[in-house]
């Protein structure tokens, strides 16, 4: 069987060289057991990458008013989910302390005219001007 498709390492990512055991039910790629988790309720293996993305999407789903709370309760109390978004996050309402859309509700919050100038197109300098190309890092040994 092929090797696990996950990357590992803290600063230098490299391929996980353990043999793959099962495929992720979401992306279909094969992973070792360390990089798979059983999704509660479904009991099917998911890779960490797909689980991480699911959690991020569930934040956005919340913004659109989709109630995911009940579904997720089980997951989030399961430590295998490694501190995903527990229900108290969902019940506390989404966190938007600095944005009030087009209504300038509070002088200190960002409004659309603040946001507009940060469009990628209005960026004058290369944001990575200070960056070095991959493997061209003078700073690291």
């Amino acid at each position: 069987m092929e090797n696990c498709n996950m990357k590992r390492g803290f600063f230098f990512l490299r391929d996980c060289d353990y043999p793959a055991h099962q495929s992720c039910s979401s992306c279909g790629k094969s992973f070792c057991n360390e990089h798979l988790r059983l999704k509660p309720g479904i009991s099917a293996p998911f890779c960490l990458d797909c689980l991480g993305k699911t959690m991020q999407q569930s934040i956005q789903g919340k913004d659109k008013g989709v109630s995911t709370r009940d579904n997720y309760d089980d997951y989030y109390y399961d430590t295998a989910w490694c501190y995903g978004y527990r229900s108290n996050y969902y019940s506390s309402g989404s966190y938007k302390p600095w944005y009030f859309g087009s209504v300038n509700a509070d002088d200190s919050d960002f409004n659309d005219s603040d946001i507009r100038v940060f469009d990628a197109a209005s960026e004058s300098d290369d944001p990575d001007a200070e960056a070095f190309d991959p493997e061209a890092n003078v700073f690291d040994s």
Partner: protein
């Protein structure tokens, strides 16, 4: 890093991850080939070693996994496709808030590098953790250079967020005295700010292979090429050194394409191309090889608001010192923190090409002095500018904070 041992079972792992006790958030892609990533690595590792387990929240991309578990540490990356900087920053804030809020009873220390991760950490109610604000630059100073249309009102809003960060964080760390003074002048409390300079690894140049095609005698400039780095001044200085026909300037540089193109054209216009050896975007190891063979390393920083007020801790100076290379650098407060003139380096007035050329001439004519300065620089780097010494200072701050936490359990 720590590796979890492989589990040879038929079932995917469950419940194997330690509760994070340390949280480090950076509105940066990690890992990435830039200085910020080295800071994140060194400081996050110091935090997680101290707390025993940790969660690193950073930005990702399509290539980087959104969730990694490395022993007792986790890395969570927000893969945002949002092209607008401010919207992306606010998304990151929500991402950080969700984790910090959930872990509010478990975390001992939460460390942030910018208001985008800091404000949400500070906003969590009934939290048990202490906070550390690591200030390397201030968005209110850096962003107007990147986004020319920022209004003063928008800037003031960002400044207010920064202000909340340095007012409410339990401790502040920054890489130079200049930025410490800047924060104090803005109103931050001096006694909670600690200067922790950039670190480097001490390297014996004799153990490194100099590139086979290296000329007999050369100066080196390495790093990025933004206007405040002072390459124009260095180019002008090279025109004064044409009589030293053997002397070359090696440029191990990276930067935006237009900027690099502009500098090449400028070199042509000044008729110094034959004195230059361009090494564009070469791997780190190649930069090290070139540095090892250089007679002198040059850091001609410009005397501009950015270098004077916000400050920085020029990593190229620290790296050169760590390899016992004499550095000629502009006499600016940020540089003076690292170099004593004619002892651990050579200082020149900024923006004066003829003075820079003269300094180069003097040092080249006195190789013994050059060697002495280089050796002193390396001694200084070994004593106070290694990652081991700087992270020990940081660990000391974490220790104080957790001691305060124990002494006063009801204080967030």
């Amino acid at each position: 890093m720590i590796e979890a041992s492989q589990q040879v079972t038929n079932k995917p792992a469950e419940n194997i991850t330690a509760t994070p006790k340390g949280l480090y958030a950076a509105f940066d892609t990690f890992p990435a080939p830039k200085g910020a990533a080295v800071h994140i690595r060194e400081f996050a590792q110091t935090l997680f070693t101290y707390t025993g387990s940790g969660l690193l929240l950073v930005l990702g991309d399509e290539e980087l996994p959104s969730w990694q578990i490395e022993g007792s540490m986790q890395i969570r990356r927000l893969a945002s496709g949002e092209p607008n900087y401010l919207k992306r920053a606010m998304q990151f804030g929500e991402f950080v808030y969700a984790h910090a809020e959930m872990l509010r009873n478990d975390l001992q220390i939460a460390h942030f590098r910018d208001p985008w991760g800091g404000i949400p950490m500070l906003d969590v109610k009934n939290r048990s953790y202490k906070t550390v604000y690591e200030v390397n630059s201030l968005p209110s100073i850096e962003l107007p250079a990147r986004y020319g249309n920022i209004s003063s009102r928008t800037c003031a809003k960002i400044r207010r967020l920064e202000q909340r960060c340095w007012e409410e964080a339990d401790r502040i760390i920054c890489p130079s005295q200049v930025i410490r003074n800047c924060l104090i002048s803005l109103g931050a409390s001096a006694d909670k700010i600690t200067v922790i300079p950039n670190g480097a690894h001490i390297i014996d140049a004799a153990q490194i292979d100099i590139p086979a095609d290296a000329p007999g005698q050369y100066l080196i400039y390495f790093g990025a090429v933004q206007s405040w780095q002072g390459l124009e001044v260095l180019f002008k200085a090279m025109t004064f050194l044409r009589d030293l026909s053997e002397l070359k300037l090696v440029l191990c540089v990276s930067g935006s394409k237009p900027r690099l193109k502009y500098l090449q054209k400028l070199a042509a216009r000044m008729s110094i191309e034959h004195q230059l050896i361009w090494q564009m975007k070469v791997p780190q190891i190649v930069v090290s090889n070139w540095l090892a063979g250089a007679a002198i390393s040059v850091a001609p920083l410009v005397e501009c608001a950015r270098n004077l007020t916000q400050g920085c801790c020029p990593i190229k100076i620290v790296e050169s010192m760590a390899m016992a290379k004499p550095v000629i650098a502009s006499d600016l407060p940020v540089v003076r923190e690292l170099i004593d003139h004619n002892d651990t380096g050579w200082l020149i007035r900024p923006d004066r090409p003829s003075e820079l050329a003269r300094a180069i001439r003097i040092l080249l004519a006195h190789p013994d002095e050059c060697r002495r300065i280089g050796e002193n620089a390396q001694k200084k780097a070994a004593a106070s500018l290694t990652w081991a010494t700087v992270t020990a200072t940081l660990a000391g701050i974490y220790r104080q904070l957790t001691a305060e936490n124990l002494a006063d359990p009801f204080q967030p």
